[in-house]
């Protein structure tokens, strides 16, 4: 029985991740080469160590019953929250964010581990409350559990990593069966909040001409008036609903209150974020607005990717990277080097690798009958998927620069360990599909 379960783990996922890690190693090596052919970085050696230890972790987790780990969920969650608090207080500052914690000369990023513990607690909570999954209370507590680490990481401030928690919550809650109208409410408010929050800066830097009636979303005074008038409409429609119990009053209040929440959030965004921070988020819409500042990275990266062509310039032959025009080549922009040197073929292989892992991962979940495992797996795959979309999107200029790594490829132990543990869990869920 034991032998059978050993060989029954999913090979495509394993091979894909192996391929991606090898790619990563090659291009971390490439990123350390300068135009004169010297190697100035030993990151590739460190990365091989991370890969080996990551594989060990992968197998360890794969053969550990994930339900046994489940018992530790609350301790694990509590522990990572504490770690996040400590990081906030005494963490090491790297690139302006206090996100590192040093241990005997090694640095770890507690936010990476917080992702896993948050998925675990969400899966656990939603599974335990599957009978009253439709209740608003369940939804609300789910949000609060996500919001705690989210806010702690946002305070570091590491917005990129914090953002990962939102899609995790969404998809886990969705699969768990939370009422869709609650999720839609959040979605509408969130989109409005982001849109209205960045709209004034967008107008200021990108439009520059008269925007007509849309001006009402720029002036803070008018927005306040707007806010109170919408609040008044909400009260009226609520009164209407409570007195007549008509459905259309309910839906009207639903829409109005989601707009109101979004509007309130956008006021918050504009108060909390400085204009240059917003600018950094939206400069990808047109990096040439600020080609020497924020736009620099984006322009360099798109140029690197675009100049790769179908087959690329050849391994170690990229000019953008070896003349060191690309920033953070071994971490955030590793995809750009790969795309420059291996061209479309290389980028396609990377996307294929991730596609196999994520799609295949979800298919594996379909085989499981155990609800907790399905939810946990959903969280894990969502996390990997979101990283891929944001990191590669950033490299090709369709996503804002948030500085989150590309799993398997980016240099760094924390992210590699996180993804290997995660995949181990996925495999374990699959192996145990007949047991539960």
């Amino acid at each position: 029985m034991k032998g059978k379960s050993f060989f029954s783990f999913d090979i495509p996922i394993f091979l894909s991740s192996l391929m991606l890690m090898v790619f990563g190693l090659l291009f971390i090596y490439s990123s350390g080469i300068t135009s004169t052919g010297q190697n100035v970085s030993h990151e590739y050696i460190m990365q091989s160590i991370w890969i080996v230890t990551g594989l060990v972790l992968f197998f360890l987790v794969m053969f550990t019953d994930y339900l046994m780990l489940r018992r530790w969920t609350y301790y694990f969650y509590f522990f990572t929250i504490i770690l996040l608090l400590i990081t906030l207080a005494v963490g090491r500052k790297v690139n302006g964010a206090r996100s590192w914690l040093g241990f005997f000369g090694f640095g770890i990023q507690p936010s990476e581990f917080a992702k896993i513990s948050t998925m675990m607690i969400l899966a656990d909570y939603f599974d335990k409350h599957r009978k009253n999954i439709l209740e608003f209370r369940t939804f609300l507590i789910g949000i609060l559990l996500t919001l705690l680490p989210f806010l702690l990481i946002l305070a570091q401030p590491d917005m990129g990593t914090a953002l990962v928690f939102l899609p995790i919550f969404f998809l886990v809650a969705y699969v768990a069966g939370i009422k869709r109208r609650y999720l839609f409410f959040l979605l509408i408010s969130g989109v409005l909040m982001v849109f209205l929050g960045v709209f004034p800066s967008w107008v200021k830097y990108f439009v520059k001409s008269d925007i007509g009636i849309a001006r009402i979303f720029v002036s803070m005074d008018i927005i306040k008036i707007l806010f109170f008038s919408i609040a008044a409409i909400l009260i009226i429609s609520l009164v209407g609903y409570l007195s007549t119990k008509k459905r259309y009053f309910y839906w009207f209040s639903y829409i109005v209150s989601s707009i109101l929440t979004g509007l309130a959030g956008s006021i918050g965004v504009r108060i909390v974020l400085k204009e240059y921070q917003i600018m950094r988020l939206i400069v990808f819409l047109n990096p040439y607005i600020d080609p020497k500042g924020t736009g620099w990275n984006i322009i360099q990266s798109i140029t690197a990717v675009g100049s790769g062509g179908l087959f690329g310039k050849g391994f170690l032959k990229g000019t953008q990277s070896h003349y060191r025009f690309l920033p953070q080549q071994s971490t955030d922009f590793i995809f750009s080097i790969l795309a420059e040197e291996w061209g479309f073929i290389g980028s396609f292989l990377v996307l294929l690798g991730f596609g196999v892992i994520i799609v295949r991962g979800f298919i594996l979940l379909l085989h499981s009958k155990e609800n907790y495992g399905i939810l946990l797996g959903t969280g894990i795959l969502t996390m990997i998927f979101f990283h891929v979309v944001v990191n590669i999107g950033m490299a090709i200029g369709i996503m804002p620069i948030t500085g989150i790594p590309l799993f398997f490829l980016s240099y760094g132990g924390s992210s590699l360990w996180t993804v290997m543990i995660s995949l181990g869990i996925i495999e374990n869920i699959y192996i145990k599909r007949f047991s539960y």
Binding site: V305, G309, L310, Y323, P327, G355, F362
Partner: protein, 622 residues
């Protein structure tokens, strides 16, 4: 049983939702593949071209900043000296190497390490662009860096000539100085051809005509890696720099020096103006500063010291300080009376030394009184009581402020220097808005003798007299005379006189007022002091209260030669802040200036001609 069924149903719902997710994920992956195909395969050429352009580095070849001459055009006032700026590209270096390099540079320049560290802020730490860490480096030190390039990784340099002001002293306010562009200035001038390493005029002509002076940097193309290491040169594409234009000023440096020495070490200012064109021949404001120090090690310290100096050496008092015009205002009062025929000019008013308005007593400067005076006598003797009565009983505040405005008071002279202020012409409406109290008779009385709220700049004062000389026209005062090509010396543009203000006051009345002002010199208050034989002048003294005991602002405004064609005349305004009332320095300085201009003499020669040789030992007064 029921629970089991529920579970089954739930399970199939869950599967359903996961399938929806799988489909969406596949959709997004397909989008990414298509997007990358478009980017890498279909648009490949565009980006390959761009990649090549990025590694082709355009290095600026700095343009020479234009030189500045005075109207004699024989000797430059400002030239450029060869010098270099040294830069670090911080993104190329790891922390250890960066620190080491900074230490070596600091030692080479003998400046503290922190000075360099300050320039590399944390937001610039990973920038792949050269940041200037030191300017004004001489060839010798740059040569050392070039010879030891491996000890200075990430260090580059470029030529950055510094300005040298050959005539500094009182011309500093006019010439101004240049300095590194600040972040704020850069934001305002974004897209106007400036870069973060640009030099920019900070004040005076350097600021006003920065666009003309700076020229246009050329570009030199090299294929480089990000470290700026040259891989290939592409000479044929080089764009040569266009050097800045040579500016010729209306200033006559001999008259400037004369005016400067005549004023001496007294806080105040002098304006010498050609009324028929608006050309400024000299403009002095004391105290001044030394702009050359801004290009040395001590720049910061010096700037702080001067900025905190209670004498405000950065202030160009001729255009940035406004004072009560005091008795000089009687020129406008007299013109108003002539034009409005409010009070007959040959009728007298008796001065008993003071006048009562409401419950306040207003004194004449002559306590014992002037006795009966008609208008020309009152102007010559500068009798306060006469003008109190004229203002209060016959003209009224509205006519007075109206005439003050006709002479350009309360509005900008539009001189081509930055930072001019416009002074103030008070009206009842203004006072009510400002202080929320009513305009009273006492206010009119004060205004009538140029005191109270009224204040004007020395340049406005010169314009006022210019109007009487030109018989109704003020030409816009200006400093720039010609723009010349820096290489050929060809005159590219001559600044033509431009009318700033015209007045409907009759020529007859202007002639009359000039006649009266001549009377001030021949029989009036300035009789004793104006001793020059070189020229006949017309003018008016003024002594303004500033609220300090025994301290008065002293004015003298005059033109000469009296009665000549305006083209041959000059207007001189001297203004000495709060000096002793009877020292009469303003008049005395003007006397020397007129003597010097019309006899073609220097200060020393002029005081000899005036038999004021004793002044030579008294140059440094107060």
């Amino acid at each position: 049983m029921k629970v089991d069924q529920y579970n089954k149903m739930e399970n199939s719902n869950t599967k359903h939702r996961i399938i929806i997710i799988i489909v969406s994920v596949i959709g997004i992956f397909i989008f990414f593949v298509l997007y990358l195909f478009n980017l890498q395969v279909l648009n490949k050429l565009k980006y390959q071209d761009r990649a090549r352009n990025i590694s082709v580095r355009a290095l600026p070849i700095p343009a020479q900043r234009g030189e500045i001459f005075d109207r004699n055009t024989d000797k430059p006032l400002v030239i450029n000296i060869d010098s270099f700026a040294v830069n670090i590209t911080p993104g190329e270096l790891d922390d250890r190497t960066l620190n080491q390099t900074i230490k070596r540079l600091a030692k080479l320049f003998s400046i503290p390490v922190s000075d360099i560290k300050k320039k590399i802020t944390s937001s610039y730490r990973h920038l792949f662009q050269p940041l200037e860490v030191k300017s004004g480096v001489d060839l010798h030190k740059v040569g050392y860096i070039a010879e030891h390039k491996e000890d200075f990784p990430g260090v580059t340099w470029n030529s950055k000539p510094i300005r040298n002001y050959l005539y500094k002293d009182s011309l500093t306010h006019i010439l101004g100085y240049v300095g590194d562009i600040t972040v704020e200035e850069y934001q305002v001038l974004y897209n106007k051809g400036y870069s973060l390493n640009s030099q920019i005029g900070k004040s005076g002509i350097e600021k006003e005509y920065d666009v003309l002076l700076r020229g246009k940097d050329g570009e030199q193309f090299k294929t480089v890696d990000v470290k700026g290491r040259k891989i290939a040169n592409r000479k044929m594409d080089d764009i040569p720099p266009q050097n800045g234009k040579t500016l010729v000023l209306t200033i006559d440096r001999h008259i400037q020096r004369l005016a400067e020495e005549a004023l001496g070490a007294r806080m105040g200012s002098v304006v010498v103006l050609k009324p028929a064109s608006g050309e400024i021949l000299a403009m002095v404001s004391y105290p001044w500063f030394d702009p050359n120090i801004f290009y040395t090690q001590k720049a910061k310290e010096y700037y702080r010291e001067k900025a905190l100096d209670p004498k405000h050496p950065f202030l160009n008092r001729a255009i940035q300080s406004a004072y009560a015009p005091a008795s000089t205002f009687k020129i406008i009062m007299t013109t108003a009376d002539l034009e409005e025929r409010a009070f007959p000019i040959d009728k007298t008013i008796t001065c008993n030394g003071s006048i009562r308005v409401g419950n306040r007593t207003f004194d004449c400067w002559k306590k014992e009184g002037h006795g009966p005076l008609d208008l020309p006598e009152a102007l010559a003797q500068s009798c306060d009581v006469y003008f109190y009565t004229l203002g209060l009983d016959y003209l009224g505040i509205n006519v007075i402020s109206d005439f003050a405005r006709k002479f350009g008071y309360g509005s900008l002279t539009k001189i081509d220097l930055p930072g001019e202020i416009k002074g103030l012409v008070p009206t009842p409406a203004w006072k009510e808005k400002m202080f929320n109290t009513k305009w009273v008779g006492g206010d009119t009385v004060n205004t009538s003798i140029g005191q109270g709220y009224l204040n004007v700049t020395p340049l406005q004062m010169a314009d006022m007299l210019a109007m009487t000389v030109n018989k109704g026209i003020i030409y816009k005062p200006h400093i720039l005379k010609e723009i010349r090509d820096p290489v050929t010396g060809k005159v590219l543009k001559k600044i033509k006189p431009e009318i700033l203000k015209t007045s409907s006051i009759t020529e007859q009345n202007f002639s009359t007022i000039q006649k009266y002002l001549r009377g001030v010199i021949t029989d009036g208050t300035a009789k004793v002091v104006i001793t020059t034989k070189a020229v006949n002048i017309a003018g008016k003294t003024g002594t303004g209260e500033v609220g300090l005991k025994d301290r008065w602002n002293a004015w003298f405004v005059a033109n000469g030669p009296y009665g000549a064609d305006p083209k041959d005349q000059v207007v001189v305004v001297t203004m000495v802040e709060a000096t002793n009332k009877w020292e009469w320095w303003a008049v005395r300085a003007a006397n020397i200036i007129f003597q010097g201009i019309f006899a073609g003499e220097t200060y020393d020669e002029a005081i000899d001609s005036l038999h004021w040789g004793w002044l030579r030992n008294k140059k440094e007064v107060e």
